[in-house]
């Protein structure tokens, strides 16, 4: 039987000239592709999320969702971030723009809606300049979601000599196609003053990552890195035919969620947190800002990070990390200059009530180092998955049980780990998650920083 495939109507606008002038391209087309679903007014789609105290609530994600159709819009550009010792670094990164384009104007034929859409796309591009977030916006999806991810490239105002395209590489996506794999050498990438829409059928659950793959060594070191996870279908169905096991993430009464379709509840969790390891080489970033040759061979990170922050910002008492944009405060805003901006809206605080199962999605996108991560105070974590596969023989859900408990684990660049901490019986207090590569417990010359955060048991 041949299936008639729904093809979303496309909204595309031509913006003939980029604000600060794009060199060379004969066409420059920003476009945001998101299918029309659910009737004339796209009812039922939530529109963006609210930051809580300047921070993205744990494992939330910005997207438009209607049933299993999910849309997201990001810009890829440059920006600034503040390290835990106060140093401002020039960075590249993605910024979420999904909430800027209002769902009501999508896929409508009237001139009013088209003009509103044009205006909003302009706003997205304007705010995207110098808009990089560290890390990139986290992405949370469900198994079998149709995910439309639009990437818009507004260019880089601080480096007008760079004409770099950008891509999205969905790291670990099973059975990928070349077109949407995001590797410029083997595929396509999007030039400045244009947009591309990636599409993924999220057939498999697990913990993944996403990052730009253009000039990977440079763009990844500069910070175009983010986390991504796909919730399993078991969240909605529960297991064993027992409706009481349906996950809370799907409106049920069971655990908050499962990591995989384990069939027996062994990957259930009550609290989840993504721990994305990374790092910056301050010398490399300064060279990029100063339009100097980039020292690839000498690359060595001196600002190790979790979720784009070094300790103590990982557990910051002020949840937002505000960066001083100084002379660049006119860029990236719609109206008035904005000197201080929230550039790193993901903290690394883990908090649970005793007895809860805490899922750590422990991932690493550092371009030069693996880290060993250790828990203090006798906390143990059970490795239930790695590289988006359940930790069972042959990577199959009915494979031999390979789960094992540990208090430390080595995390290579490019790998993801699903670790569940059972906090039953542990005294209330702060426990520490840190790297045993103790020279990376630092923010450049500042001792007592870097890859460290707290797990608070209440």
């Amino acid at each position: 039987m041949k299936l008639k495939r729904f093809k979303g109507s496309i909204v595309s606008m031509g913006l003939a000239a980029l604000i600060f002038g794009a060199a060379g391209s004969a066409s420059a087309e920003f476009q945001y592709q998101c299918p029309r679903v659910g009737g004339a007014n796209n009812t039922g789609i939530s529109n963006g999320i609210e930051l809580v105290d300047g921070v993205i609530p744990d494992n939330e994600a910005w997207n438009l969702r209607m049933n299993n159709k999910v849309c997201m819009h990001v810009t890829g550009s440059d920006g600034f971030a503040t390290m835990a010792d106060g140093k401002r670094l020039y960075v590249f990164g993605f910024k979420d723009q999904t909430g800027v384009i209002h769902k009501n104007h999508l896929n409508r034929n009237s001139n009013f809606h088209k003009n509103e859409l044009l205006k909003e796309m302009g706003e997205a591009v304007t705010q995207g300049i110098l808009g990089a977030n560290q890390p990139s916006p986290p992405i949370s999806l469900n198994q079998d979601d149709d995910f439309f991810l639009t990437l818009t490239n507004p260019g880089m105002v601080l480096r007008p000599d760079l004409f770099d395209p950008h891509t999205v590489h969905y790291h670990g996506f099973p059975e990928a196609s070349a077109q949407f794999d995001g590797v410029p050498e083997t595929s396509i990438s999007i030039n400045q003053a244009a947009s591309i829409t990636y599409w993924y059928n999220n057939a498999e659950p697990g913990t993944f990552m996403w990052h730009c793959h253009v000039e990977a060594t440079e763009h990844m070191q500069m910070g175009m890195l983010g986390s991504l996870h796909v919730n399993p279908a078991q969240n909605k169905t529960g297991f064993g035919g027992n409706d009481a096991t349906i996950a809370q993430l799907a409106g049920g009464a069971g655990p908050k969620g499962y990591v995989y379709n384990d069939g027996d509840g062994t990957t259930a969790f009550d609290v989840e947190k993504t721990i994305l390891l990374g790092g910056y080489d301050g010398v490399f970033h300064d060279a990029s800002e100063g339009v100097l040759p980039l020292p690839f061979a000498e690359m060595e990170d001196n600002y190790p990070t979790i979720n784009g922050r070094g300790y103590p910002d990982t557990v910051g008492t002020t949840d937002a990390v505000m960066t001083d944009f100084g002379d660049w405060q006119d860029f990236g805003t719609l109206n008035a200059p904005e000197q201080f901006r929230n550039t790193q809206p993901v903290n690394a605080i883990v908090s649970a009530t005793a007895g809860e199962r805490v899922l750590l999605r422990l991932t690493n996108l550092n371009v030069s180092r693996a880290f060993t991560i250790q828990l203090s105070g006798g906390l143990k974590m059970k490795l239930v998955g790695q590289d988006a596969r359940i930790n069972r023989g042959r990577g199959l859900t009915d494979g031999k049980d390979l789960y094992h408990e540990t208090s430390s684990i080595r995390v290579n660049g490019g790998s993801t780990h699903d670790l569940i901490i059972d906090t039953t019986g542990f005294a209330a207090g702060d426990y520490v998650l840190y790297t045993t590569n103790t020279n990376y417990l630092s923010n450049d010359q500042e001792d007592f920083g870097g890859i460290m955060t707290t797990i608070t048991i209440n």
Partner: protein, 455 residues
């Protein structure tokens, strides 16, 4: 099942069209026949000095194993034996002359048991050869009792000599290899269609310059032992002794006479690729396969099996493996395009084709098309041609076996319209050649359409 598939493509005026009636079978072994290995069980290895090329224009002074009177090569010749063979390797050092002979060297065989040696002089780890003057040829002997992937490397000052290039692979074929092509035997989940070596290593240019400088001195003044390897800072990263883009050149290309092994992998959908990983350097390298996860079935020549007859039931799935220095790892990779959500051969109206699933596994019996996605379209539009930048391996079309329009000068490295994916170290610092991007530990894997023969 026979059927007709028409391909249409235009690239700068070239029209490609083809028809086929049956899948083109393909198989690739590491073998003496295609120049990617040497058959045993008797071998003659000579340690020689020479030069290798890196794509940034450097020539790097290197020490490597030669097969008898052949060229020095990096990595050393891949030795192929059968399970149960009595292996005998004669070894002589023709490394630079020093007072008393040549630089002493030896070979160790991690993972082999009962290795004995005769001849030469006693070294710290193994019998050493100190040159061509008799009696300085060593003969190493062992029984290759276990199938799998192993390595051999220098046992003399390995901190210097392995870094200089003295390392290579050993493949022990299982006893039932004539029944089925597997790494560990029938029923071990290690059957494959294509076999490739992934010997990962790195070099610190300063150490090689120091050794080269020593070699220019008068014989009596040479002191290779004075070379300090403690500040190891590599600038070059290799797969099978080559850096990208040399990694995607063919095997035994004449312009790389001392680097005979490429790592360019091609397979049809559904075919299995055996990746024999070797940690041939001093660092671990997280190796990332785009396109899908692979299944790690063995480590250090040991099948990940809980009991005989269970197959690789302890195997695990990874998209980023971690062959550690000195260790080996075997992975099976298979790409099918399962559940991608769109028809990889394109819409039927444009590219007529059927999906015939006679054996009810949801895949076409010949092309491995995922039949539940038959005729499904890609639900997004591409940007206009001038809004994108292109890689040389981009065919112009999202569909397997098709080409499409590209701006002049673009593409061209993928004339059969396959899906191309990079396989590379995920410590991206290692994907450079001494400050030049791209380079290093990076190669390409192409999923070729079924009509495309893979030699």
């Amino acid at each position: 099942m026979n059927y007709f598939l028409k391909t249409i493509g235009t690239v700068a005026g070239i029209v490609a069209a083809g028809m086929f009636w049956a899948a083109t079978a393909s198989a690739r072994d590491i073998s003496a026949a295609n120049g990617t290995g040497v058959n045993g069980p008797n071998f003659d290895l000579v340690a020689k000095w020479g030069y290798i090329s890196s794509p940034d224009g450097n020539t790097i002074y290197t020490w490597g194993y030669a097969n008898g009177t052949g060229n020095m090569q990096y990595p050393g010749p891949t030795l192929i034996v059968n399970q149960g063979d009595e292996v005998s390797i004669t070894f002589t050092s023709e490394l630079p002359e020093v007072t008393g002979g040549n630089v002493a060297s030896s070979i160790v065989f991690p993972g082999q048991t009962g290795v004995t040696a005769s001849g030469g002089t006693a070294g710290v780890l193994a019998q050493e050869s100190q040159g061509t003057d008799a009696p300085n040829t060593v003969t190493y002997s062992f029984t290759a009792s276990q199938a799998g992937t192993f390595q051999y490397h220098s046992g003399t000052r390995p901190d210097l000599q392995v870094q200089m290039g003295l390392m290579g692979a050993i493949i022990v074929r299982p006893a039932d290899f004539n029944v089925a092509r597997t790494a560990y035997g029938v029923g071990t989940d290690s059957d494959y269609d294509h076999e490739h070596l992934f010997n990962l290593s790195e070099m610190d240019n300063d150490i090689h310059l120091a050794a080269e400088t020593e070699s220019w001195k008068a014989v009596a003044s040479r002191d290779f032992n004075a070379i300090d390897t403690s500040e190891f800072k590599p600038e070059y990263w290799f797969i099978n002794g080559r850096n990208l883009p040399d990694t995607v050149m063919g095997d035994n290309v004449p312009w790389l006479p001392t680097q005979p092994y490429g790592s360019f992998v091609r397979a049809h959908p559904g075919e299995k690729v055996l990746l024999r990983f070797i940690g041939g350097g001093v660092d671990g390298h997280p190796f990332h396969t785009h396109g899908d996860n692979l299944t790690v079935v063995a480590r250090d020549g040991q099948l990940l099996s809980s009991a005989p007859g269970q197959g690789a039931d302890l195997s695990f799935s990874r998209n980023t493996t971690d062959p550690l220095p000195g260790s080996t790892m075997d992975g099976i990779f298979q790409w099918t395009g399962k559940k991608m959500g769109w028809d990889i051969y394109g819409p039927v109206a444009d590219f007529p084709h059927d999906c015939n699933d006679g054996d009810a596994d949801n895949f076409d019996d010949v092309t491995w098309e995922w039949c539940p996605d038959h005729d499904k379209e890609i639900p997004v539009d591409m940007p206009s041609l001038l809004d994108m930048s292109y890689g040389g391996f981009w065919s112009g079309s999202p569909f397997l076996g098709h080409l499409d329009a590209l701006p002049p000068g673009e593409g061209g490295l993928n004339p059969s319209g396959g899906f191309t994916f990079p396989w590379h170290s995920h410590h991206e610092k290692e994907v450079v050649n001494f400050d030049v991007f791209p380079g290093g530990m990076f190669t390409v894997f192409i999923v070729e359409p079924h009509s495309e023969p893979i030699p």
